[in-house]
């Protein structure tokens, strides 16, 4: 009874993987924000949360690849592989597909630099990793603009939930960043006073100075 046949399978696969990609990308964003703020998930140690973020990112990329390839392979609309990668090169819905291509390129940059993290240095990696924040809104706009699937019914609610989750996570991170102590100041505060002094941390005692214990003179 389903409308999915052999001739329409690619069409439905492309649309379905697109919906799943949006959900996965939103989850990756939320976990990424959680990891950055030393967050934990129930039952998982912190290193596992970090690993889950990485694994889900790769899973998302796999679904994105299937989404793009099925869209290109399907003959219902003509989308070239170049149009899927080069922004605004598509003859079909150039704006919306172009936004998807931008999101794909940003995602690829984040993944590649993450794989080459040891070689490019943490600072460069972090700079590029911020692009993940830009990738998500482009993906959302692409999803809402290129397809009507997410504009009604259950899928609309799903899209709203994804947007709400990421916006809430970003707001939470922004609020915490405003109130928390920067890492550069936080680490010395946690260190023992002697180490503070040796490293020349402001507020630390100079070398050789003995810590005075209240009542120790007696």
């Amino acid at each position: 009874m389903s409308g999915i046949t052999s001739s329409t399978a690619l069409w439905y696969a492309s649309r379905a993987t697109g919906v799943v990609c949006l959900v996965l990308l939103s989850v990756v964003m939320v976990i990424g924000i959680l990891v950055n703020q030393q967050g934990r998930l129930p039952g998982l140690p912190r290193f596992a949360v970090l690993g889950l973020h990485r694994n889900l990112s790769l899973l998302t990329v796999a679904f994105v690849v299937v989404h793009v390839l099925t869209a290109v392979a399907d003959s219902f609309v003509s989308i070239s592989l170049a149009a899927a990668v080069i922004p605004f090169a598509s003859a079909y819905k150039p704006l919306w597909l172009g936004l998807g291509a931008v999101s794909l390129d940003l995602m690829a940059a984040v993944i590649v630099t993450s794989l080459l993290r040891r070689h490019i240095g943490r600072r460069s990696w972090r700079l590029v990793h911020w692009l993940a924040y830009a990738s998500w809104p482009f993906a959302v706009l692409h999803s809402l603009g290129a397809s009507t699937d997410l504009r009604e019914g259950l899928f609309r609610d799903l899209a709203i939930a994804c947007i709400a989750a990421v916006v809430a996570a970003v707001a939470w991170r922004a609020a915490r960043a405003r109130t928390s102590v920067p890492r550069a100041r936080r680490i010395p505060e946690l260190m023992v006073p002697g180490v503070q002094a040796r490293r020349g941390v402001p507020g630390g005692r100079p070398p050789g100075q003995v810590q005075r214990v209240p009542g120790g003179d007696r």
């Binding site: 046949t5 069409w11 649309r15 694994n55 219902f76 699937d149 002697g194």
Partner: protein, 125 residues
Amino acid sequence: MSHRQQNSPPRRTPAAVAARDRGRARLRAATVSAAAASLVAAWAVALNLPGAASSAASSVHHATSGTSGTSGTWGTSGTSGTRGTSGTSGTSGSGSSSGASSGLGSPNSAPTASPGGGQVTSGGS
């Protein structure tokens, strides 16, 4: 003495090693679960996408609710029509598919007739 302790590698007690192994196992389980859930979700989404349901019922709905047309063809004024599947739509139906609701629209693709007098609802973009 304390300086030497700071430079020495952290000791890995059996408890810490076991905790790390448990964490790895949970990470693996969570990743596999997420991958399986994603595949199942993709399948479920595909089945529930607009147009994936029974095409016959959908076509009858279009035939009855569409504005009157001439004959034989579906209207092409749809914003994004469902992709046609097979010729199972209404027999005497003619009408506009302006209310079509589904995925990517074909760029002004004309609806094609299917064997048996059925119509396909591939609306224009």
